[in-house]
Symmetry: C2
Subunit: 260 residues, 2 copies
């Protein structure tokens, strides 16, 4: 049976009615499935009220201890548990996880050159605890991941949700066929950024080179697609990028951009 790993971002999480509609569609998807959720604005809002200012070192955003506590409670508690409760209400047997739970996502604290990003974790696909994920899936549970990992030395770490989805997908591809779906605020990769109907249905690595050259694909979409191709190289069947409103059609290949 195929495993669908679906990443949903902050723009949906911040909108209660959109989130509920999304979770309703997610709850009835057949087969094995995993949800990975991002952060959302609520963490910054709560942070502001608590007087936690975003911290920067040399112009780079870092996760200091106060920010780590903030994201641990908001991502791992508020957002994750509300999603789990909503999925349970929709008849989906969700179980919320951070990377610390069952040490499902061990990570190492990121230090790049001379920049210490603080409590930020990089997870590697060969460290993902696929045994625990299999155990949960085979017993009818639906893992819901918050964007948090741990360092194995007693500290939680802040980790990008896109990366978590990708590393789980790569790791699980060794166990079963995996489809990785990124839900965001566009209908897919667009030929014309201003025209939502200009979705490119399929992109191969060759297409990608050409589209980059012609500057049809640019900016933040480039690393997104590079990561998608990296996932496919590691055995992920396909990566699909599209709008959260179209989740059902994305999963069956009737919407969004397929990266193959």
């Amino acid at each position: 049976m195929e495993l669908n790993i679906i990443k949903v971002g902050g723009n949906i999480i911040d909108d209660e009615s959109k989130l509920k509609a999304f979770l309703k569609v997610f709850s009835v998807l057949e087969g094995y499935k995993i949800l990975v959720h991002g952060g959302g604005k609520v963490a910054s809002e709560i942070g502001l009220k608590l007087g936690i200012e975003p911290a920067y070192v040399n112009g780079r955003r870092i996760t200091d201890k106060t920010t780590l506590d903030l994201v641990t409670m908001v991502y791992g508690g508020l957002i994750n548990k509300n999603i789990v409760a909503l999925l349970q209400a929709a008849g989906c047997n969700a179980i919320g996880l951070t990377g610390a739970d069952g040490s499902v996502l061990p990570a190492s604290r990121r230090t790049v050159m001379d920049i210490d990003y603080g409590y930020v974790g990089d997870v590697q696909s060969d460290k993902v605890n696929t045994g625990l994920i299999k155990l949960l899936l085979y017993n009818g549970l639906v893992p819901v991941f918050s964007p948090l990992t741990h360092d194995g030395n007693g500290s939680m770490l802040n980790t990008n949700a896109d990366t978590i989805a990708q590393e789980i997908a790569k790791a699980m591809a060794a166990v079963m066929p995996v489809q990785l779906i990124y839900c965001f605020e566009k209908r897919g990769v667009l030929i014309d950024a201003a025209d939502e109907s200009s979705v490119i249905n399929r992109i191969s690595e060759k297409d990608f080179s050409e589209l980059k050259e012609k500057e049809i694909i640019s900016g933040g979409m480039i690393p997104k697609l590079e990561n998608a191709f990296a996932a496919i190289e590691k055995g992920v069947s396909r990566v699909i990028i599209g709008h959260a409103d179209e989740l059902g059609a994305l999963v069956t290949g009737n919407a969004g951009t397929w990266i193959v």
Copy 2:
């Protein structure tokens, strides 16, 4: 194999060095084990900063929506995940849970007479998802419960940690021998409240009646012991009350008060 269900309260959670020492002892306990943690002062402290005032109706503390969000993030996120990360660092394969995760603790919202307590859940032992708890225990995982349940309609609920420990103990007693251990700030039930060396080693139901009559046991200790006897009636092997500092000795019956 015997299951030890250990409840630890806020006084330990609020003290990082005490918490770490406690978790170190917990991590090396042999056999099946479950940790249930309470809230701690940190929720009120964060609540104060967020401008969340404790809410009362007719003099009764209630959990309004804002308070529910607060405890969901602090209990289910901050406290629970930090405990899990610390246990993982100590080599204990902890997995953090609220009652919503895998619907392990379905609850009903409490309404008593004309008082609506807000988002407060009462969990019943015959509703506890023992299948999931068994699955986790049999696979070497150590469940760590935060004091949260859910109503099955999409909402989290605030639930007393003592009650959660007790209801899980009663439910699991049908599956395996269960020992329920309440860690608090006293060495056990004391003959003289001012003398920590006056611990009563064993209390039977008959002893309890006599001690109540003589007013040696009074106040908050009465419902605690009534609950303990209720648990034993439902098949829990024994309930032990003692100091968190003595966890190792409590488990082996060398400290605290045994209720049998």
